[in-house]
Amino acid sequence: MSPVTVGRVAAAVYKESVRDRVPLSMVFFAGVLIAASIFLSQLSAGQDVKIVKDLGLATMNLIGLLISVFVGTGLVAKEIERRSIYAVLSKPVTRSTYLLGKYCGLLLTLASNLAAMAVALYLVLGYFAIATPLPANSTRPPHVDPWLLLPLALLFVQLMVTTAAALFFSTFSGPLLTVLFTLAFWVAGHFGGDLRDYGRVVDSPIAAGVARALYYLLPNFGGLDVKNEVVHGAALDAAAITAAVAAAVTYAVALLGAAAAVFERRDLK
Protein backbone atom coordinates (compact mmCIF):
# COMPACT_ATOMS: atom_id res chain seq x y z
CA MET A 1 0.00 0.00 0.00
CA SER A 2 1.51 3.28 -1.12
CA PRO A 3 1.08 6.22 1.30
CA VAL A 4 1.48 8.60 -1.66
CA THR A 5 -1.49 6.99 -3.44
CA VAL A 6 -3.53 7.02 -0.21
CA GLY A 7 -2.77 10.76 0.01
CA ARG A 8 -3.85 11.36 -3.59
CA VAL A 9 -7.15 9.55 -3.13
CA ALA A 10 -7.70 11.42 0.15
CA ALA A 11 -6.96 14.78 -1.48
CA ALA A 12 -9.53 14.08 -4.21
CA VAL A 13 -12.15 13.04 -1.64
CA TYR A 14 -11.46 16.20 0.35
CA LYS A 15 -11.70 18.43 -2.69
CA GLU A 16 -14.93 16.78 -3.81
CA SER A 17 -16.61 16.77 -0.40
CA VAL A 18 -15.74 20.31 0.67
CA ARG A 19 -17.33 21.52 -2.57
CA ASP A 20 -20.40 19.34 -2.11
CA ARG A 21 -23.30 21.42 -0.93
CA VAL A 22 -24.41 18.90 1.69
CA PRO A 23 -21.56 19.30 4.20
CA LEU A 24 -21.29 23.01 3.41
CA SER A 25 -24.95 23.61 4.14
CA MET A 26 -24.63 21.59 7.33
CA VAL A 27 -21.74 23.74 8.52
CA PHE A 28 -23.71 26.85 7.61
CA PHE A 29 -26.67 25.49 9.57
CA ALA A 30 -24.41 24.85 12.55
CA GLY A 31 -23.09 28.42 12.36
CA VAL A 32 -26.62 29.79 12.36
CA LEU A 33 -27.59 27.56 15.28
CA ILE A 34 -24.57 28.61 17.31
CA ALA A 35 -25.30 32.27 16.58
CA ALA A 36 -28.96 31.73 17.52
CA SER A 37 -27.83 30.47 20.90
CA ILE A 38 -27.04 34.12 21.74
CA PHE A 39 -30.77 34.79 21.71
CA LEU A 40 -31.73 31.52 23.40
CA SER A 41 -29.31 32.28 26.22
CA GLN A 42 -31.23 35.48 27.06
CA LEU A 43 -34.06 33.27 28.31
CA SER A 44 -31.98 31.94 31.17
CA ALA A 45 -30.41 34.64 33.28
CA GLY A 46 -26.92 33.87 34.51
CA GLN A 47 -26.65 30.63 32.53
CA ASP A 48 -26.21 32.29 29.13
CA VAL A 49 -22.65 31.21 28.37
CA LYS A 50 -23.29 27.64 29.58
CA ILE A 51 -26.25 27.42 27.22
CA VAL A 52 -24.17 28.72 24.32
CA LYS A 53 -21.46 26.16 25.07
CA ASP A 54 -23.94 23.29 25.52
CA LEU A 55 -25.88 24.15 22.41
CA GLY A 56 -22.74 24.77 20.37
CA LEU A 57 -21.14 21.46 21.30
CA ALA A 58 -24.41 19.53 20.81
CA THR A 59 -24.87 21.12 17.38
CA MET A 60 -21.35 20.21 16.37
CA ASN A 61 -21.99 16.68 17.56
CA LEU A 62 -25.10 16.39 15.43
CA ILE A 63 -23.63 18.00 12.32
CA GLY A 64 -20.44 15.95 12.63
CA LEU A 65 -22.53 12.78 12.85
CA LEU A 66 -24.63 13.73 9.84
CA ILE A 67 -21.57 14.51 7.72
CA SER A 68 -19.89 11.31 8.84
CA VAL A 69 -22.94 9.18 8.04
CA PHE A 70 -24.19 10.79 4.84
CA VAL A 71 -20.86 11.70 3.24
CA GLY A 72 -19.28 8.50 4.59
CA THR A 73 -21.99 6.48 2.92
CA GLY A 74 -21.27 8.21 -0.37
CA LEU A 75 -17.62 7.29 -0.16
CA VAL A 76 -18.03 3.74 -1.39
CA ALA A 77 -21.69 2.73 -1.56
CA LYS A 78 -22.71 5.62 -3.81
CA GLU A 79 -19.55 5.31 -5.85
CA ILE A 80 -20.46 1.70 -6.54
CA GLU A 81 -24.05 2.62 -7.30
CA ARG A 82 -23.02 5.42 -9.68
CA ARG A 83 -20.17 3.29 -11.02
CA SER A 84 -17.66 6.12 -10.66
CA ILE A 85 -15.52 3.56 -8.83
CA TYR A 86 -14.80 1.65 -12.06
CA ALA A 87 -12.42 4.21 -13.50
CA VAL A 88 -10.49 4.60 -10.23
CA LEU A 89 -10.01 0.89 -9.60
CA SER A 90 -8.76 0.32 -13.14
CA LYS A 91 -5.81 2.55 -12.24
CA PRO A 92 -2.78 1.14 -10.39
CA VAL A 93 -4.54 1.36 -7.04
CA THR A 94 -5.32 -1.60 -4.79
CA ARG A 95 -8.77 -1.75 -3.27
CA SER A 96 -7.33 -1.38 0.25
CA THR A 97 -5.40 1.73 -0.77
CA TYR A 98 -8.54 3.18 -2.30
CA LEU A 99 -10.54 2.45 0.86
CA LEU A 100 -7.92 3.97 3.16
CA GLY A 101 -7.62 7.03 0.91
CA LYS A 102 -11.37 7.52 1.03
CA TYR A 103 -11.33 7.23 4.81
CA CYS A 104 -8.48 9.71 5.27
CA GLY A 105 -10.15 12.15 2.85
CA LEU A 106 -13.37 12.12 4.84
CA LEU A 107 -11.51 12.54 8.14
CA LEU A 108 -9.84 15.59 6.62
CA THR A 109 -13.25 16.93 5.58
CA LEU A 110 -14.66 16.29 9.06
CA ALA A 111 -11.67 17.98 10.71
CA SER A 112 -12.10 21.05 8.47
CA ASN A 113 -15.82 21.27 9.18
CA LEU A 114 -15.34 20.83 12.93
CA ALA A 115 -12.65 23.53 12.84
CA ALA A 116 -15.01 25.90 11.01
CA MET A 117 -17.78 25.23 13.54
CA ALA A 118 -15.31 25.68 16.44
CA VAL A 119 -14.31 29.09 15.06
CA ALA A 120 -18.02 30.05 14.92
CA LEU A 121 -18.50 28.91 18.53
CA TYR A 122 -15.45 30.79 19.78
CA LEU A 123 -16.58 33.95 17.97
CA VAL A 124 -19.92 33.79 19.81
CA LEU A 125 -18.14 33.13 23.10
CA GLY A 126 -15.77 36.03 22.37
CA TYR A 127 -18.80 38.27 22.02
CA PHE A 128 -19.97 37.20 25.49
CA ALA A 129 -16.48 37.69 26.93
CA ILE A 130 -16.66 41.33 25.80
CA ALA A 131 -20.36 41.94 26.51
CA THR A 132 -20.62 40.18 29.87
CA PRO A 133 -17.12 39.58 31.26
CA LEU A 134 -16.71 37.29 34.28
CA PRO A 135 -15.86 38.93 37.62
CA ALA A 136 -12.17 38.72 38.48
CA ASN A 137 -12.81 36.33 41.40
CA SER A 138 -15.17 34.00 39.48
CA THR A 139 -14.70 30.24 39.84
CA ARG A 140 -16.54 29.52 36.59
CA PRO A 141 -14.63 28.38 33.50
CA PRO A 142 -13.67 31.33 31.28
CA HIS A 143 -16.04 32.24 28.44
CA VAL A 144 -13.44 31.58 25.75
CA ASP A 145 -12.36 28.31 27.29
CA PRO A 146 -9.54 26.47 25.51
CA TRP A 147 -10.68 23.27 27.24
CA LEU A 148 -13.69 23.22 24.91
CA LEU A 149 -11.27 21.86 22.34
CA LEU A 150 -11.09 18.62 24.34
CA PRO A 151 -14.72 17.51 23.77
CA LEU A 152 -14.25 18.57 20.15
CA ALA A 153 -11.15 16.39 19.79
CA LEU A 154 -13.00 13.50 21.43
CA LEU A 155 -15.95 14.07 19.10
CA PHE A 156 -13.50 13.73 16.24
CA VAL A 157 -12.36 10.39 17.68
CA GLN A 158 -16.00 9.22 17.83
CA LEU A 159 -16.44 10.30 14.23
CA MET A 160 -13.30 8.38 13.25
CA VAL A 161 -14.99 5.21 14.51
CA THR A 162 -18.37 6.10 12.98
CA THR A 163 -16.80 6.85 9.58
CA ALA A 164 -14.91 3.55 9.70
CA ALA A 165 -18.23 1.84 10.46
CA ALA A 166 -19.92 3.63 7.52
CA LEU A 167 -17.09 2.48 5.29
CA PHE A 168 -17.32 -1.08 6.61
CA PHE A 169 -21.09 -1.27 6.07
CA SER A 170 -20.82 0.26 2.61
CA THR A 171 -18.47 -2.52 1.46
CA PHE A 172 -21.33 -5.01 1.50
CA SER A 173 -24.60 -3.02 1.47
CA GLY A 174 -26.28 -0.25 -0.50
CA PRO A 175 -26.44 3.44 0.47
CA LEU A 176 -29.75 3.28 2.36
CA LEU A 177 -28.83 0.28 4.49
CA THR A 178 -25.41 1.78 5.15
CA VAL A 179 -27.04 4.94 6.52
CA LEU A 180 -29.38 2.91 8.74
CA PHE A 181 -26.63 0.59 10.00
CA THR A 182 -24.31 3.50 10.75
CA LEU A 183 -26.94 5.50 12.61
CA ALA A 184 -27.84 2.40 14.64
CA PHE A 185 -24.14 1.86 15.35
CA TRP A 186 -23.79 5.44 16.61
CA VAL A 187 -26.87 5.25 18.81
CA ALA A 188 -25.87 1.87 20.27
CA GLY A 189 -22.37 3.22 20.91
CA HIS A 190 -23.86 5.82 23.24
CA PHE A 191 -25.69 3.22 25.28
CA GLY A 192 -22.64 1.15 26.20
CA GLY A 193 -23.17 1.68 29.95
CA ASP A 194 -26.82 0.64 29.72
CA LEU A 195 -25.91 -2.52 27.79
CA ARG A 196 -23.31 -3.38 30.41
CA ASP A 197 -25.77 -2.95 33.28
CA TYR A 198 -28.75 -4.50 31.51
CA GLY A 199 -28.29 -7.78 33.39
CA ARG A 200 -29.09 -6.03 36.67
CA VAL A 201 -32.58 -5.01 35.58
CA VAL A 202 -33.75 -8.14 33.72
CA ASP A 203 -34.28 -11.68 34.92
CA SER A 204 -33.61 -13.39 31.60
CA PRO A 205 -30.02 -14.65 31.48
CA ILE A 206 -30.29 -14.83 27.67
CA ALA A 207 -31.27 -11.16 27.34
CA ALA A 208 -28.55 -10.21 29.80
CA GLY A 209 -26.03 -12.31 27.84
CA VAL A 210 -26.99 -10.71 24.52
CA ALA A 211 -26.70 -7.23 26.03
CA ARG A 212 -23.32 -8.12 27.50
CA ALA A 213 -22.14 -9.49 24.14
CA LEU A 214 -23.28 -6.30 22.40
CA TYR A 215 -21.48 -4.27 25.04
CA TYR A 216 -18.22 -6.00 24.15
CA LEU A 217 -18.93 -5.95 20.40
CA LEU A 218 -19.93 -2.28 20.05
CA PRO A 219 -17.76 0.73 20.85
CA ASN A 220 -18.48 2.71 23.98
CA PHE A 221 -18.72 6.37 23.08
CA GLY A 222 -19.67 7.28 26.67
CA GLY A 223 -16.01 7.53 27.69
CA LEU A 224 -15.42 9.99 24.84
CA ASP A 225 -18.19 12.38 25.86
CA VAL A 226 -16.89 15.01 28.29
CA LYS A 227 -19.06 17.92 27.19
CA ASN A 228 -20.80 18.34 30.55
CA GLU A 229 -17.61 18.11 32.56
CA VAL A 230 -15.88 20.78 30.46
CA VAL A 231 -18.88 23.14 30.30
CA HIS A 232 -19.36 22.92 34.06
CA GLY A 233 -15.66 23.02 34.84
CA ALA A 234 -15.69 19.58 36.53
CA ALA A 235 -12.57 17.45 36.98
CA LEU A 236 -11.55 15.14 34.14
CA ASP A 237 -10.11 11.63 34.41
CA ALA A 238 -7.12 11.73 32.08
CA ALA A 239 -6.42 7.99 32.36
CA ALA A 240 -10.02 7.05 31.49
CA ILE A 241 -10.03 9.43 28.51
CA THR A 242 -6.72 8.05 27.24
CA ALA A 243 -8.00 4.49 27.54
CA ALA A 244 -11.23 5.39 25.73
CA VAL A 245 -9.27 7.05 22.89
CA ALA A 246 -6.98 4.03 22.58
CA ALA A 247 -9.96 1.67 22.49
CA ALA A 248 -11.74 3.80 19.87
CA VAL A 249 -8.68 4.01 17.63
CA THR A 250 -8.19 0.24 17.91
CA TYR A 251 -11.86 -0.25 17.05
CA ALA A 252 -11.58 2.01 13.99
CA VAL A 253 -8.49 0.17 12.78
CA ALA A 254 -10.28 -3.18 13.21
CA LEU A 255 -13.29 -1.90 11.25
CA LEU A 256 -11.03 -0.66 8.45
CA GLY A 257 -9.27 -4.03 8.36
CA ALA A 258 -12.60 -5.84 8.12
CA ALA A 259 -13.80 -3.41 5.44
CA ALA A 260 -10.65 -4.01 3.40
CA ALA A 261 -11.00 -7.80 3.73
CA VAL A 262 -14.62 -7.71 2.50
CA PHE A 263 -13.97 -5.17 -0.24
CA GLU A 264 -10.95 -6.98 -1.70
CA ARG A 265 -13.16 -9.82 -2.98
CA ARG A 266 -16.40 -7.99 -3.66
CA ASP A 267 -17.84 -8.09 -7.19
CA LEU A 268 -18.58 -4.54 -8.36
CA LYS A 269 -21.47 -5.30 -10.67
Binding site: T5, R8, A12, E16, R19, A87, S90, K91, L268, K269
Partner: protein, 316 residues
Protein backbone atom coordinates in the same frame (compact mmCIF):
# COMPACT_ATOMS: atom_id res chain seq x y z
CA UNK B 1 3.16 -12.61 -26.41
CA UNK B 2 -0.47 -11.61 -26.88
CA UNK B 3 -1.89 -8.30 -25.68
CA UNK B 4 -4.97 -9.94 -24.19
CA UNK B 5 -5.76 -13.63 -23.72
CA UNK B 6 -8.60 -15.32 -21.94
CA UNK B 7 -8.96 -19.02 -21.34
CA UNK B 8 -12.42 -20.46 -20.65
CA UNK B 9 -13.36 -17.39 -18.64
CA UNK B 10 -16.76 -17.82 -16.98
CA UNK B 11 -18.78 -15.74 -14.58
CA UNK B 12 -21.82 -16.67 -12.51
CA UNK B 13 -23.89 -14.08 -10.67
CA UNK B 14 -26.29 -14.94 -7.90
CA UNK B 15 -29.81 -13.79 -8.71
CA UNK B 16 -32.92 -13.83 -6.56
CA UNK B 17 -33.31 -12.47 -3.06
CA UNK B 18 -34.88 -15.24 -1.01
CA UNK B 19 -33.41 -18.20 -2.87
CA UNK B 20 -30.34 -16.96 -4.73
CA UNK B 21 -29.36 -19.15 -7.66
CA UNK B 22 -26.39 -18.80 -10.00
CA UNK B 23 -26.96 -17.17 -13.37
CA UNK B 24 -24.15 -17.70 -15.87
CA UNK B 25 -23.44 -14.33 -17.50
CA UNK B 26 -20.37 -15.53 -19.39
CA UNK B 27 -19.59 -19.06 -20.62
CA UNK B 28 -16.03 -20.21 -21.26
CA UNK B 29 -14.80 -17.15 -23.12
CA UNK B 30 -11.54 -17.89 -24.91
CA UNK B 31 -10.01 -14.99 -26.84
CA UNK B 32 -6.62 -13.97 -28.16
CA UNK B 33 -5.94 -10.37 -29.11
CA UNK B 34 -2.74 -9.50 -30.93
CA UNK B 35 -0.65 -6.43 -30.16
CA UNK B 36 -1.56 -3.34 -32.13
CA UNK B 37 -4.98 -4.60 -33.22
CA UNK B 38 -8.29 -2.85 -32.95
CA UNK B 39 -10.40 -5.69 -31.60
CA UNK B 40 -14.17 -5.35 -31.72
CA UNK B 41 -16.07 -7.16 -29.03
CA UNK B 42 -19.59 -7.26 -30.37
CA UNK B 43 -22.90 -8.46 -29.14
CA UNK B 44 -26.46 -7.41 -28.43
CA UNK B 45 -27.41 -5.81 -25.12
CA UNK B 46 -27.01 -8.25 -22.24
CA UNK B 47 -24.71 -10.55 -24.21
CA UNK B 48 -21.95 -10.47 -21.59
CA UNK B 49 -19.65 -7.87 -23.15
CA UNK B 50 -19.44 -5.63 -20.09
CA UNK B 51 -19.10 -8.64 -17.79
CA UNK B 52 -16.09 -9.80 -19.81
CA UNK B 53 -14.49 -6.35 -19.64
CA UNK B 54 -15.20 -6.08 -15.91
CA UNK B 55 -13.50 -9.44 -15.45
CA UNK B 56 -10.46 -8.17 -17.33
CA UNK B 57 -10.46 -5.04 -15.15
CA UNK B 58 -10.87 -7.16 -11.98
CA UNK B 59 -14.02 -5.27 -11.05
CA UNK B 60 -15.64 -8.68 -10.80
CA UNK B 61 -13.87 -11.99 -10.26
CA UNK B 62 -14.17 -15.07 -12.49
CA UNK B 63 -16.08 -18.15 -11.40
CA UNK B 64 -13.65 -20.20 -13.48
CA UNK B 65 -11.04 -19.72 -16.16
CA UNK B 66 -8.22 -17.24 -16.36
CA UNK B 67 -6.97 -14.28 -18.31
CA UNK B 68 -3.77 -12.39 -18.91
CA UNK B 69 -3.03 -8.89 -20.13
CA UNK B 70 0.38 -8.22 -21.65
CA UNK B 71 1.38 -11.68 -20.50
CA UNK B 72 0.72 -10.97 -16.85
CA UNK B 73 -2.09 -12.13 -14.58
CA UNK B 74 -4.98 -9.76 -13.99
CA UNK B 75 -4.66 -7.25 -11.18
CA UNK B 76 -0.88 -6.90 -11.48
CA UNK B 77 -0.19 -3.23 -10.66
CA UNK B 78 2.66 -3.05 -13.18
CA UNK B 79 0.19 -4.09 -15.90
CA UNK B 80 -2.44 -1.65 -14.65
CA UNK B 81 0.07 1.13 -15.28
CA UNK B 82 0.05 0.14 -18.95
CA UNK B 83 -3.68 -0.11 -19.56
CA UNK B 84 -6.53 2.35 -19.95
CA UNK B 85 -10.23 1.74 -19.39
CA UNK B 86 -13.39 3.56 -20.37
CA UNK B 87 -16.39 2.09 -18.49
CA UNK B 88 -19.80 1.91 -20.12
CA UNK B 89 -21.83 5.09 -19.39
CA UNK B 90 -19.01 6.51 -17.27
CA UNK B 91 -19.67 8.60 -14.21
CA UNK B 92 -17.15 10.71 -12.34
CA UNK B 93 -17.07 13.22 -9.52
CA UNK B 94 -19.65 16.00 -9.84
CA UNK B 95 -17.62 18.66 -8.09
CA UNK B 96 -14.31 18.17 -9.87
CA UNK B 97 -13.53 19.67 -13.27
CA UNK B 98 -12.26 17.54 -16.14
CA UNK B 99 -8.81 19.01 -15.61
CA UNK B 100 -8.84 18.20 -11.90
CA UNK B 101 -10.12 14.68 -12.50
CA UNK B 102 -7.42 13.94 -15.05
CA UNK B 103 -4.74 15.50 -12.84
CA UNK B 104 -5.92 13.21 -10.02
CA UNK B 105 -5.78 10.14 -12.27
CA UNK B 106 -2.38 11.19 -13.64
CA UNK B 107 -1.19 11.27 -10.03
CA UNK B 108 -2.47 7.72 -9.47
CA UNK B 109 -0.29 6.61 -12.39
CA UNK B 110 2.70 8.31 -10.77
CA UNK B 111 3.13 10.75 -13.66
CA UNK B 112 5.55 13.40 -12.33
CA UNK B 113 3.90 16.64 -11.21
CA UNK B 114 5.89 18.67 -13.74
CA UNK B 115 4.44 16.63 -16.63
CA UNK B 116 0.85 16.36 -15.42
CA UNK B 117 -0.53 19.68 -16.66
CA UNK B 118 0.87 19.18 -20.17
CA UNK B 119 -0.34 15.56 -20.31
CA UNK B 120 -3.82 16.52 -19.14
CA UNK B 121 -4.07 19.36 -21.66
CA UNK B 122 -2.86 17.08 -24.43
CA UNK B 123 -5.43 14.29 -23.87
CA UNK B 124 -8.27 16.77 -23.41
CA UNK B 125 -7.27 18.35 -26.72
CA UNK B 126 -7.26 14.92 -28.35
CA UNK B 127 -10.85 14.21 -27.30
CA UNK B 128 -11.95 17.70 -28.33
CA UNK B 129 -12.81 19.16 -24.94
CA UNK B 130 -12.37 22.94 -25.01
CA UNK B 131 -12.69 25.66 -22.38
CA UNK B 132 -15.36 23.67 -20.54
CA UNK B 133 -12.56 21.48 -19.18
CA UNK B 134 -12.39 23.87 -16.22
CA UNK B 135 -16.10 23.56 -15.41
CA UNK B 136 -17.37 21.07 -12.89
CA UNK B 137 -18.37 17.72 -14.34
CA UNK B 138 -21.93 18.00 -13.03
CA UNK B 139 -22.61 20.61 -15.71
CA UNK B 140 -21.43 18.35 -18.57
CA UNK B 141 -23.63 16.76 -21.22
CA UNK B 142 -23.55 12.99 -21.70
CA UNK B 143 -21.32 13.36 -24.74
CA UNK B 144 -18.87 15.56 -22.85
CA UNK B 145 -18.69 13.05 -19.98
CA UNK B 146 -18.01 10.35 -22.57
CA UNK B 147 -15.13 12.42 -23.94
CA UNK B 148 -13.73 12.88 -20.42
CA UNK B 149 -14.04 9.11 -19.99
CA UNK B 150 -12.01 8.52 -23.12
CA UNK B 151 -9.45 11.12 -22.06
CA UNK B 152 -8.94 9.53 -18.64
CA UNK B 153 -8.42 6.16 -20.32
CA UNK B 154 -5.54 7.65 -22.31
CA UNK B 155 -3.88 9.74 -19.58
CA UNK B 156 -1.12 7.16 -19.04
CA UNK B 157 -0.46 6.61 -22.78
CA UNK B 158 -1.50 2.96 -22.39
CA UNK B 159 -0.25 0.00 -24.38
CA UNK B 160 -3.69 -1.60 -24.21
CA UNK B 161 -6.91 0.35 -23.93
CA UNK B 162 -10.36 -1.04 -23.18
CA UNK B 163 -13.34 0.99 -24.38
CA UNK B 164 -16.76 -0.24 -23.25
CA UNK B 165 -19.27 1.25 -25.71
CA UNK B 166 -17.07 4.24 -26.63
CA UNK B 167 -19.57 5.75 -29.07
CA UNK B 168 -22.37 5.88 -26.54
CA UNK B 169 -23.76 9.40 -26.12
CA UNK B 170 -21.72 10.86 -28.97
CA UNK B 171 -23.18 12.71 -31.93
CA UNK B 172 -22.11 11.75 -35.49
CA UNK B 173 -19.21 14.21 -35.44
CA UNK B 174 -18.08 12.93 -32.07
CA UNK B 175 -18.28 9.33 -33.32
CA UNK B 176 -16.17 10.17 -36.34
CA UNK B 177 -13.58 11.87 -34.10
CA UNK B 178 -13.39 8.89 -31.77
CA UNK B 179 -13.09 6.51 -34.73
CA UNK B 180 -10.15 8.59 -35.94
CA UNK B 181 -8.69 8.61 -32.43
CA UNK B 182 -8.83 4.80 -32.35
CA UNK B 183 -7.07 4.62 -35.70
CA UNK B 184 -4.42 7.03 -34.39
CA UNK B 185 -3.96 4.83 -31.32
CA UNK B 186 -3.44 1.78 -33.53
CA UNK B 187 -0.94 3.72 -35.62
CA UNK B 188 1.04 4.36 -32.42
CA UNK B 189 1.02 0.64 -31.62
CA UNK B 190 -1.68 0.71 -28.95
CA UNK B 191 -3.98 -2.29 -28.76
CA UNK B 192 -7.61 -1.18 -28.69
CA UNK B 193 -10.25 -3.55 -27.32
CA UNK B 194 -13.69 -2.08 -27.68
CA UNK B 195 -17.17 -3.37 -27.10
CA UNK B 196 -20.04 -2.15 -29.19
CA UNK B 197 -23.30 -3.05 -30.78
CA UNK B 198 -22.80 -0.40 -33.47
CA UNK B 199 -21.59 -2.66 -36.24
CA UNK B 200 -20.71 0.00 -38.79
CA UNK B 201 -18.05 1.29 -36.37
CA UNK B 202 -16.68 -2.20 -35.90
CA UNK B 203 -16.64 -2.88 -39.63
CA UNK B 204 -14.82 0.39 -40.31
CA UNK B 205 -12.23 0.00 -37.56
CA UNK B 206 -11.55 -3.56 -36.55
CA UNK B 207 -8.99 -5.94 -37.82
CA UNK B 208 -10.51 -8.67 -35.65
CA UNK B 209 -13.84 -9.13 -33.95
CA UNK B 210 -15.50 -11.49 -31.55
CA UNK B 211 -19.26 -11.84 -31.36
CA UNK B 212 -20.92 -12.88 -28.13
CA UNK B 213 -24.56 -13.71 -27.59
CA UNK B 214 -26.24 -14.98 -24.45
CA UNK B 215 -22.87 -15.08 -22.72
CA UNK B 216 -21.26 -17.34 -25.33
CA UNK B 217 -18.70 -16.66 -28.00
CA UNK B 218 -20.42 -17.34 -31.32
CA UNK B 219 -17.73 -16.19 -33.78
CA UNK B 220 -14.24 -14.75 -33.70
CA UNK B 221 -11.59 -13.92 -36.26
CA UNK B 222 -10.50 -11.37 -38.80
CA UNK B 223 -13.42 -9.45 -40.27
CA UNK B 224 -12.21 -10.23 -43.81
CA UNK B 225 -12.07 -13.98 -43.07
CA UNK B 226 -15.42 -14.09 -41.30
CA UNK B 227 -17.16 -12.45 -44.22
CA UNK B 228 -15.21 -13.69 -47.27
CA UNK B 229 -16.73 -17.15 -47.20
CA UNK B 230 -20.09 -15.52 -47.59
CA UNK B 231 -19.30 -13.58 -50.81
CA UNK B 232 -22.27 -14.00 -53.06
CA UNK B 233 -21.54 -12.07 -56.23
CA UNK B 234 -20.21 -8.90 -57.89
CA UNK B 235 -21.69 -5.47 -58.26
CA UNK B 236 -20.57 -3.37 -61.23
CA UNK B 237 -21.45 0.25 -61.91
CA UNK B 238 -20.87 1.08 -65.54
CA UNK B 239 -21.34 4.23 -67.68
CA UNK B 240 -22.08 4.53 -71.39
CA UNK B 241 -23.28 1.05 -72.21
CA UNK B 242 -24.77 1.25 -75.72
CA UNK B 243 -28.42 0.23 -75.95
CA UNK B 244 -27.49 -2.46 -78.43
CA UNK B 245 -25.13 -4.15 -75.96
CA UNK B 246 -27.59 -4.10 -73.10
CA UNK B 247 -29.47 -7.32 -73.96
CA UNK B 248 -26.20 -9.30 -74.24
CA UNK B 249 -24.74 -7.91 -70.99
CA UNK B 250 -28.12 -8.04 -69.23
CA UNK B 251 -28.48 -11.71 -70.08
CA UNK B 252 -25.27 -12.47 -68.14
CA UNK B 253 -26.30 -10.38 -65.13
CA UNK B 254 -28.60 -11.40 -62.27
CA UNK B 255 -30.00 -7.87 -62.24
CA UNK B 256 -29.59 -4.72 -64.29
CA UNK B 257 -30.81 -1.35 -63.04
CA UNK B 258 -30.62 2.01 -64.75
CA UNK B 259 -29.30 4.43 -62.11
CA UNK B 260 -29.46 7.62 -64.20
CA UNK B 261 -28.44 8.99 -67.61
CA UNK B 262 -26.51 6.07 -69.06
CA UNK B 263 -25.27 4.68 -65.75
CA UNK B 264 -26.22 1.11 -64.93
CA UNK B 265 -25.86 -1.03 -61.82
CA UNK B 266 -25.34 -4.69 -62.68
CA UNK B 267 -25.21 -7.65 -60.33
CA UNK B 268 -23.36 -10.83 -61.33
CA UNK B 269 -22.99 -14.26 -59.80
CA UNK B 270 -19.61 -15.13 -58.20
CA UNK B 271 -16.87 -15.67 -60.76
CA UNK B 272 -13.66 -14.21 -62.19
CA UNK B 273 -13.82 -10.37 -62.00
CA UNK B 274 -11.37 -10.08 -64.91
CA UNK B 275 -13.96 -11.69 -67.14
CA UNK B 276 -16.51 -9.06 -66.07
CA UNK B 277 -14.08 -6.26 -66.85
CA UNK B 278 -13.50 -7.74 -70.30
CA UNK B 279 -17.24 -8.13 -70.90
CA UNK B 280 -17.95 -4.49 -70.04
CA UNK B 281 -15.05 -3.12 -72.04
CA UNK B 282 -15.95 -5.17 -75.14
CA UNK B 283 -19.57 -4.00 -74.83
CA UNK B 284 -18.32 -0.38 -74.94
CA UNK B 285 -19.02 0.54 -71.32
CA UNK B 286 -16.74 2.33 -68.84
CA UNK B 287 -16.50 0.74 -65.41
CA UNK B 288 -17.06 3.20 -62.57
CA UNK B 289 -16.77 0.65 -59.74
CA UNK B 290 -16.53 -3.08 -59.17
CA UNK B 291 -17.40 -4.46 -55.72
CA UNK B 292 -17.58 -7.93 -54.30
CA UNK B 293 -21.04 -8.48 -52.87
CA UNK B 294 -20.43 -9.76 -49.38
CA UNK B 295 -22.56 -10.26 -46.40
CA UNK B 296 -22.12 -7.18 -44.22
CA UNK B 297 -20.93 -7.53 -40.67
CA UNK B 298 -24.42 -6.56 -39.64
CA UNK B 299 -26.02 -9.39 -41.60
CA UNK B 300 -23.39 -11.82 -40.32
CA UNK B 301 -23.96 -10.62 -36.76
CA UNK B 302 -27.74 -10.92 -36.99
CA UNK B 303 -27.47 -14.43 -38.43
CA UNK B 304 -25.03 -15.66 -35.76
CA UNK B 305 -26.87 -14.05 -32.88
CA UNK B 306 -30.18 -15.48 -34.07
CA UNK B 307 -28.60 -18.94 -34.36
CA UNK B 308 -27.23 -18.60 -30.80
CA UNK B 309 -30.69 -17.64 -29.57
CA UNK B 310 -32.18 -20.75 -31.19
CA UNK B 311 -29.46 -22.94 -29.64
CA UNK B 312 -29.99 -21.26 -26.27
CA UNK B 313 -33.73 -21.89 -26.43
CA UNK B 314 -33.16 -25.55 -27.33
CA UNK B 315 -30.86 -26.11 -24.34
CA UNK B 316 -32.52 -27.45 -21.20
Amino acid sequence: MLAIETDALSKDYLVGFWRPRPYRALHDLTLAVEHGDIFGFLGPNGAGKSTAIKLLMQLVFPTSGQARILGQPLGDLAVKRRIGFLPENPSFYDYLSAEELLTYFAGLFGIPAAERAARVASVLDRVGLGAERRSRLRSYSKGMVQRVGIAQALINEPDVVFFDEPMSGLDPIGRREIRQLMLDLRARGTTVFFSSHILSDAEALCSQVAIVAQGRLVATGKVSELLSEDQHGWEVVVDGLPATALPQVGARARACTLVHDGRHLLEFAPGDPAELVRLMTEAGGRIVSLHAQRETLEAFFVRRVAAAAVRGAAEP
